[in-house]
């Protein structure tokens, strides 16, 4: 059935239309250039929060559009950044005079396109800023760290801040602080299936890929015959040491499947993560477990920890009403 997805242009357009038909109260879709906008109008002066991303990571970003989160999302082609034309169209549609905050994962295309969009917006007198998401500890060089689960968390924090009246400066500041409090890592359990490549290769039964990206970027192949606790041993220390997280910390735990991992396996992984956190005396104050940042139908998971303080926790708890998150 690969063929259904083989014409990414029209498939993505149709899929967006389908999404809007499924969530008519929450989102509406614009085409050519493509972007998704929330239906609930924002009060004048509210900071607009926008996120662009290549397609294939759903629900990020389109599933996070709605009250308390994104004002608009711009989906690019599969695994490819949306263009400044899309981003600028979204700016024109959702700017309410409070300026625009972009949440951008740290990949060259995304950053370049967002920076160019900001240049174009500034030329029109629209104040626009961006927050870079770079939580992937599997990359040693911090400047090259990719954006993973913190992208979803940053959209929530920025959206809640904007909704509750933060100025653009304040919203940028707290969202940067949120990202700075996050560390993540990805584990692949099979190889990515890109529409153009057909089904991915399968890793050996006892092997995983450590530190994979969400676009099929390879990780380090490891044999893990001892199961989940062994995997968690391999990713737990790099994550905890990097911030570092310390005994007594309160955290938000996000465990996201990459799209092809059954809930059964995701919860199996969660169990081992919880045990690791208890052993390190880190308290899970809030958590999300499910498919929140995916990589088409690949098998695997990413785990993200965000160290909470009162402000971040309040923003996290603030009401949200989107296709993928609502409380």
């Amino acid at each position: 059935m690969q063929s259904l997805m083989n014409k990414p242009g029209s498939a993505i357009t149709q899929s967006l239309r389908g999404m809007a038909l499924c969530h008519p109260d929450t989102i509406k879709v614009h085409f050519d250039p493509d972007f998704v906008e929330r239906t609930v109008t924002a009060r004048s002066g509210k900071v607009a929060v926008i996120s662009g991303s290549g397609s294939g990571h759903e629900p990020l970003p389109t599933g996070y559009v709605g009250l308390g989160m994104l004002d608009a999302a711009c989906p690019g082609p599969i695994f490819t950044s949306p263009s400044p034309i899309q981003l600028l169209a979204a700016v024109h549609s959702v700017d309410h005079g409070g300026g625009v905050l972009f949440v951008v994962k740290n990949y060259a295309g995304g950053v370049l396109n967002t920076e160019l969009t900001i240049e174009l917006a500034l030329q029109e007198g629209i104040d626009a800023r961006f927050v870079l998401v770079n939580d992937d500890v599997s990359i040693a060089n911090v400047a090259n760290r990719r954006g993973l689960g913190a992208a979803a968390l940053a959209c929530k924090i920025a959206g809640a801040a904007a909704e509750s009246g933060y100025t653009l400066d304040e919203a940028v500041k707290v969202t940067r602080r949120a990202v700075a409090a996050c560390r993540s890592m990805g584990v692949g359990t099979n190889v990515n299936t890109l529409p153009r490549n057909g089904p991915g290769a399968i890793l050996a039964d006892d092997s995983i890929e450590l530190g994979v990206g969400i676009h099929g970027e390879p990780g380090e192949v490891r044999s893990v015959s001892k199961g989940m606790s062994e995997i968690v041993g391999l990713i737990g220390q790099p994550i905890l040491k990097d911030l570092p997280f310390a005994a007594g910390d309160r955290v938000l735990l996000l465990i996201s499947g990459m799209g092809g991992t059954p809930p059964l396996e995701l919860y199996l992984f969660s169990e081992a993560i919880h045990d690791m956190l208890v052993a390190n005396r880190i308290r899970v104050e809030r958590q999300l477990v499910g498919n929140y940042l995916t990589s088409l139908g690949r098998g695997g998971y990413t785990v993200t920890l965000m160290r909470l303080d009162n402000e971040l926790q309040d923003l996290w708890d603030a009401p949200v009403h989107t296709p993928a998150l609502h409380w």
Binding site: G76, I85, A108, E115
Partner: protein, 217 residues
Amino acid sequence: MGQEITVTQLRRWLLAYAARIIENEDHLTELDTAIGDADHGVNMRRGMGKLQERLQDEEQTEDIGSFLRSVAMTLISGVGGAAGPLYGTFFLRAATSPTNGSSVDLAQLTQMFRFGLDGLQQRGKAQTDDKTMIDTIQPAVEAMEAALATQQSTAVVLAAARQAAHLGMKHTIEIEARKGRASYLGPHSIGHQDPGATSAYFLFETAAEVFTKTGAD
């Protein structure tokens, strides 16, 4: 020397460029297959198609600034990937050179390219030897500036630019990528020519062809 380049000549140049890229689509994609994600030819070809449409439009400006800005927006919407905003920025900033008018002389053309190059570097934060299109464009612009300083003819200045661009492009084979997707490969990127440096070379190859011919008219 005193030759003036108008929007008509710029349009002729960019049509030649578009045709050259389209001829080389597969070559560019092959280069990107080795060290990137196998789409540079596809990206550029899509952008060049849109550029051709745009340039064949009836309604045309005579103002070089507006013309370049419209070229920039076309590339931004058409190319995508990293190359889209980079080429887009090059033309967007070239459009802001203060001596652009309804025509530019060789010095003003050079300044226009310099503005483009500076914008590109600001956008992509790459230096020479990072194995990107900068390795082609920067030596080419510097060669133009140097040749201008010694009062060379249009043909000589553009030949110098083309030669410097070619050397820069070939030099990317020898070095390790530090920017763009190829940088993920580290030392494994050595031995492969950079796709963006290659597509950028055609800018100067076609400029030398078109503007020199125009000058000889």
